[in-house]
């Protein structure tokens, strides 16, 4: 799978073990590919294929998980058909996509070093981070952790060489072309630029994860302690 980036690439439908199917729509992290992923999720959800427990998008692919191996071939066939010909009716129009606005106090431990590394002022880092609408490409790492992108080119830094053993819950961070909010106190190697009091994950809620893959996220700078 070393093919160069092509838009639109021919969808690849593959077995992901005995009980799941992977549909790969591309090999790059970008909003164009992800909008096709979002559309495919809508198409697959509308098709409600028998035996499918869960549909999970991530960046440039979509996985379908089944309860057992018996339906895999049928799901692969259906996914191949649906991925090849997404119906226009299933295309997600912009108004149907949830957008979350996250208030952020931009006072992260790495904010100044990020500004320095990017050759920007702190306020310019804040302005650039909070002036975009991000796609939630995928959830992973820990429950409720949404990978958001893409970040302004001028803010892209490699991960910290030495990950922190403890990143506080609610930390807003950046790394590479992505930004994220840590739902729990966990280890982490991203640069901390701010924090929010919004609860990203709560198992007692109807929807435990605040942000779902496919949603959009904006950050809003707030002042005060």
């Amino acid at each position: 799978m070393t093919s160069p980036v092509q838009v639109p690439a021919e969808p690849q439908v593959m077995a992901l073990g005995d009980e799941a199917v992977l549909v790969r729509l591309g090999t790059s992290v970008d909003s164009t590919t992800f909008s096709r992923v979002r559309d495919l999720v809508h198409t697959l959800e509308a098709a409600s294929l028998p035996g499918v427990l869960e549909i999970v998008p991530a960046y440039a692919s979509v996985a379908l998980y089944m309860s057992d191996a018996s339906t895999r071939q049928a799901v692969m066939d259906a996914a191949r058909f649906l991925a090849g010909a997404p119906s226009e009716a299933a295309t997600a129009d912009a108004t149907s996509v949830t957008t979350h606005v996250i208030p952020v106090r931009y006072d992260g431990a790495d904010l100044e070093s990020v500004a320095e590394a990017c050759d920007l002022t702190v306020s310019e880092v804040v302005r650039r981070h909070s002036s975009r609408t991000y796609d939630a490409f995928a959830l992973g790492f820990v429950p409720g952790f949404a990978y958001l992108g893409v970040l302004d080119e001028s803010l892209r830094l490699p991960r910290r060489p030495q990950p922190r053993t403890r990143v506080p819950a609610g930390s807003v961070a950046i790394a590479g072309a992505q930004t994220a909010i840590y739902p729990f106190e966990t280890p982490g190697g991203w640069h901390l630029i701010g924090r929010t009091t919004v609860s990203l994950f709560d198992a007692s809620r109807d929807r435990p994860a605040l942000i779902a893959a496919g949603d959009r996220v904006r950050f809003m700078s707030i002042d005060g302690a």
């Binding site: 799978m1 992901l16 869960e54 991530a58 692919s61 998980y65 992973g140």
Partner: protein
């Protein structure tokens, strides 16, 4: 192997049979007490059927064959919550009459001072102590009790997912002094023949030295000599293996060549599954286990057949296992 009590009356063990209309999930609080715990003692069941889209792994028993068998031996539905025991020895105190079955890994065990056989239904009385040594064969030992461990369901399961403190007993490993509630269910005990088959199934998991693998999304990008190595040579289970992943040693230049550079951010992560074999940046295969990540960033070069995940789980560090392409 089957104690005489196997065919005896169930009245004492399950409480009042006439009370069988009591709802499933009502519980006897403090049915089982942890007197001393091994390093990793958690409540596990079949895990969460959904949740990956929120980044929640399935969790659940590392060896579902043993979970199902021990539950069946005490008359529970196969996916009922039980104790998963690993890493050392410990002691439990029985506080209510109950049926117990111990399976999966083998260990030295006594119940009420008498040797407690593996893989059979045992009748326990209030005050009985259940002593279990560190596992002597296999890695994950299961203790099922009649009615199951009646902790609340969280997101569709009672399984413990330690990294997010979800499910189980307050989302954590069990420690000295914890009192575990037992559920009340109608008991449907297996006949002698079925009990024999259940032990056979558990023993097969412990004894097998090979697992079957199939191709995975990145198999075709793997140099052919690397795939050949993966399926031709026995691999050694490394000590860093845990509920999240099993690490295997397979160091060779062709692996390293196939492995991604440490900061290969150009390749987007893709959804993963339990049993997926990823080639990490140091060239070692890392197999995703029940608590493992829902997304994989490393090339997925193979995947265990679904039924063979428990075989790998039960291999102790230093043991070898062979991948067979099928």
């Amino acid at each position: 192997m089957i104690p005489s009590s196997h065919t005896g009356s169930m009245h004492n063990a399950t409480g009042s049979r006439t009370g069988s209309t009591r709802p499933l999930g009502s519980s006897a609080a403090g049915a089982l007490e942890v007197v001393s715990a091994p390093p990793l003692l958690t409540i596990q069941d079949d895990g969460r059927p959904t949740g990956r889209s929120m980044g929640i792994p399935r969790s659940g028993a590392m060896d579902p064959v043993a979970l199902h068998a021990t539950n069946a031996l005490v008359g529970n539905p196969s996916g009922t919550a039980a104790l998963e025991w690993a890493g050392g020895g410990g002691r439990l105190r029985v506080r209510r009459p109950m049926l117990i079955a111990i399976g999966g890994a083998h260990a030295e065990m006594t119940l009420g001072g008498n040797p407690a056989p593996w893989g059979v239904m045992l009748r326990a009385r209030p005050g009985d102590l259940l002593d279990i040594s560190a596992p002597t064969w296999g890695r994950w030992l299961y203790i099922a009790i009649s009615g199951g461990i009646a902790v609340p369901e969280v997101l569709g399961a009672r399984a413990t997912y330690l990294p997010a403190r979800l499910g189980g007993f307050e989302g954590r490993t069990l420690v000295r002094g914890d009192l575990l509630p037992a559920g009340l269910t109608n008991t449907q005990l297996p006949d002698t023949r079925s009990a024999f088959d259940l032990r056979e199934a558990m023993t097969d998991v412990l004894a097998r030295q090979h697992v079957h693998v199939m191709e995975a999304p990145a198999t075709s990008s793997l140099p052919s000599e690397c795939w050949t190595q993966l399926v031709a040579r026995p691999l050694t289970v490394l000590p860093e293996s845990d509920r999240m992943g099993t690490r295997l040693s397979m160091l060779s230049d062709s692996n390293r060549a196939a492995a991604p550079a440490p900061d290969d951010s150009a390749r987007p992560s893709e959804p993963a599954c339990i049993g997926l074999v990823q080639l990490t940046s140091n060239g070692q295969p890392l197999v995703i286990m029940p608590d493992g990540p829902t997304l994989g960033g490393y090339p997925a070069v193979a995947c265990l057949r679904a039924g063979d995940v428990p075989v790998l789980a039960q291999r102790t560090p230093g043991e070898r296992v062979r991948f067979i392409a099928r």
